[in-house]
């Protein structure tokens, strides 16, 4: 990967500017490097002069993914300088490709998993721990074996989740990057220190309190699942929570105190007041009811291996980890052209049902091991979008079942790599979704639904009793964390601060353009009405 870093001044913070024309630097955890930011996908496509290029000799990857890679990385830091002066960036926050990361190695393949679709780059490394195989990562980012991960990790701007291996959690942001929580905190503090610290008004205090409680809730849920708070998805959610009150309050980062309070409450025991509506939708026979059974841990929905078993829309209520789940289990949609009237009836009944129980999360379920020729599922996704509105894709996630199926043999007789298969399958589904919505500008890659891999029929479980995929992931908890985060964030939305303009000139005075971008990005997220609903 050759990246161009002229024009960035990193003097005011603990940021290390990588030297020109280098590959990713010798990474040490604790260092943060800012790389360029980009503009919208349209700008990428229209722009002829690439400043940022990815040079890789990856293996043959399916067409769509490669194309998107080529188009995503056209513009480099020059764009950031222009963009900071315009309002465009303010209005289109999610078009900024994120830019903060530290590099930390992986000694195993980072798996392809989604997280907040809207969020770009934030997560946490385990502070202070040095990885043994750092050199490996530097070289591996150029080598073939990781390139497919580079493709997959960046596709759609989703975040790769942590693994359950002993090494501990670290996160890959949209372009294979990691973030150190404390450093990011410093960054934001630095950016906001020009703003005067006003005494927060009473209203302000109340809002902060509410947000604090939400953070505590999130921490408690994360603890209950057995994950440390450094989990990528949880920290993203925390950042989003913090940012809903605007970035110029250093009280936004009372995370440690929230954590402590959460531990206290957990030790005391007691319930968490959180209920979650999840709409499960997809073709027939893909494993919707089975997934519900696996998530809830008991067989509540009927499954049948030969005939459709769910014939009406019904809710499956369960309690798990103190959270009240309400799954809306739907009959499967048919892919035959002559049965579309049946689909219409099903979608109509789903619509009626969701009026009384609006879903917080929409899970589109499909099989990982189905053939992936172009756009077979487009008619179904189209009818879903037409009936339920494209709004459902805002807080949607894609669940690929039968995820432990071994990939098919390729032309050479050797099996495809698991990551390639997942990448190809998810790219096809996402393409269908964006075509179904019809407005490519509205639904650019960073807003695409995250992808989760699910296996309902596994016999092997790890010590936590959680089913394990071939790539070592424990999918159930990832899914749960994401759902909790989404719900808490949606609860936080009414508490977000009203419109407030940020004086960009002051930030410019720092001379750190991409800093401005970062902050602008954060502010704009809270401003954007499209953030969640």
């Amino acid at each position: 990967m050759q990246l161009n870093f002229e024009g960035l001044d990193f003097s005011r913070s603990k940021i290390v500017k990588p030297s020109l024309n280098c590959a990713v630097e010798e990474p040490v955890v604790g260092k943060v490097a800012i790389y360029g930011a980009g503009l919208t996908l349209e700008d990428h496509l229209n722009d002829e002069t690439p400043d940022l290029q990815i040079v890789s000799d990856g293996p043959e990857v399916a067409g769509e993914v490669k194309h998107l890679v080529d188009t995503c990385y056209k513009k480099g830091t020059d764009a950031s300088q222009e963009a900071s002066a315009t309002d465009q960036a303010l209005h289109d926050p999610c078009n900024l490709l994120s830019s903060v990361f530290a590099v930390s190695p992986s000694d195993h393949e980072p798996e392809l998993e989604g997280a907040d679709a809207d969020n770009e780059a934030l997560g946490k490394t385990r502070g202070g721990e040095k990885r043994e195989s750092e050199d490996e990562f530097t070289s591996s980012i150029l080598s073939n074996s990781v390139n497919s991960q580079v493709y997959t990790a960046i596709y759609g701007g989703h975040i790769v989740s942590e693994s359950i291996k002993e090494q501990g959690p670290y996160v890959y942001g949209g372009q294979n990057f990691l973030v150190d929580l404390d450093i990011l905190g410093d960054l934001l503090k630095a950016s906001s220190c020009t703003e005067s610290e006003e005494n927060p008004s009473k209203e302000e205090k109340k809002r902060l309190e509410d947000l604090h409680l939400l953070k505590v809730k999130l921490f408690r849920l994360v603890h209950r699942l057995g994950y440390s708070p450094e989990n990528s998805i949880a920290t993203q959610a925390l950042y989003r929570l913090a940012l809903t009150i605007g970035s110029h309050s250093s009280q936004a980062f009372r995370l440690k105190s929230a954590n402590k309070l959460a531990m206290q409450l957990e030790a005391e025991g007691g319930g968490i007041d959180l209920s979650l509506n999840i709409l499960v939708i997809g073709k027939t026979g893909v494993g919707k009811s089975a997934t519900i059974n696996t998530v809830l841990g008991e067989k509540k929905a009927m499954v049948n291996a030969f005939e459709p078993s769910t014939v009406t829309v019904k809710e499956v209520i369960g309690n798990k980890d103190g959270v009240k789940f309400r799954f809306i289990d739907t009959p499967g949609l048919r892919s035959s052209g002559t049965e579309q009237s049946l689909n219409q009836r099903i979608l109509l009944s789903i619509k009626k049902f969701t009026k009384s129980f609006p879903p917080d999360v929409v899970m589109y379920v499909d099989r990982l091991d189905c053939p992936t020729s172009d756009l077979i599922d487009l008619p179904i996704l189209r009818s879903i979008t037409n009936s339920l509105g494209s709004i459902i894709w805002r807080n949607a996630m894609i669940a690929l079942t039968y995820a432990s199926s071994t990939p098919l043999d390729g032309p050479t007789g050797l099996p495809f790599s698991y990551e390639d298969l997942v990448a190809q399958r998810s790219s096809v589904i996402r393409q269908c979704i964006s075509l179904a919505i019809g407005d490519t500008h509205e639904m650019n890659p960073c807003l695409m639904p995250p992808v989760f891999l699910i296996e309902n029929h596994l016999s092997e479980k790890n010590e936590l009793g959680c089913a394990v995929l071939p790539n070592g992931q424990c999918w159930r908890t990832e899914l749960l964390i994401l759902s909790y985060s989404l719900k808490i964030l949606s609860e936080a939305l009414p508490l977000s601060k009203p419109q407030e303009s940020l004086d960009l000139r002051k930030i410019h005075g720092f001379g750190v353009q991409s800093f401005a971008l970062l902050v602008v990005f954060f502010i704009a997220i809270s401003h954007s009405p499209k953030t969640f609903r």
Binding site: G285, A305, F306, S336, P371, T372, Y402
Partner: protein, 312 residues
Amino acid sequence: MASQLIREWTGIQQFPAATQTKLLELLGKLKQENVSTLTILVMGKGGIGKSSTVNSIIGERAVAVSAFQSEIPRPVMVSRSTAGFTLNVIDTPGLIEGGYVNDQTLENIKRFLVNKTIDILLYVDRLDTYRVDNLDKQVVKAVTESFGKEIWKRALVVLTHAQLLPPDGLEYDVFFTGRSEALLKVVRSGAKIKKQDTWGDAIPVALVENSGRCNKNENIEKVLPCGTAWIPNLVKTITEVALNGSKPILVNKKLIEGPNPDRRWKEFIPLVFAFQYFFIIKPLQRAIKNDMARETRPAWELRDTGLSSRKF
């Protein structure tokens, strides 16, 4: 066709010894019954493993297979011969596109098969699909309409991806029975095979596992989870169907294009004509004459009738 060079079936060498012996035995049996060529047509939906199955039978990568691009663009015939026996396997693109049967694909297949004889039809589907739906019925209907109902007497159902862990804690055999029953039901209804035709219940089902990670037994043969080596088993089933006494389907122009409407019932034309003449025209003429004879004529007409014969 005569100019096409039929290659030697070298792929048979790369099977393990046990498989080779069984295959050669079966081919010998066919030759004994005077069947020295066998044409197998492979059809089904897209992306289920037709080309992989063909490659597995032939023993080499005769047809292009890709997991991401699941269709071959047009039908392909793979011919191999060994020890005086010729095997022709015809691989076809999947019939379903966009939720409907692709008529263009069907046309291509029919045109490809003109003047060939189909000995065996392999109707392929996946074992690990958990629903049968209207699409399967449409495929079966399309096949029946193109080649006639009789082709199902020479057909066997092939289920790919056979090495699977059955869902919901079912036993493998139970799952296999359930799946094949559901699929056969669809075949019988799509091909409009009546209950009286007992041969409809006798369509055999074979299991296939084409991946390289198929389990192997001690003879290094590829085996199914139930322990049978599937390549010899498949060829054995094919042999049984080939020798079951029904006639192979000759795909001639008539079959493809359907009967010529101009020639339909041409023989009846003189009969209808004669009928019209004797039973309709003549009685009508008689009736008219009778009417004319019976009518009362007015005085002026009677007076004038003699005028034509008057001499002035």
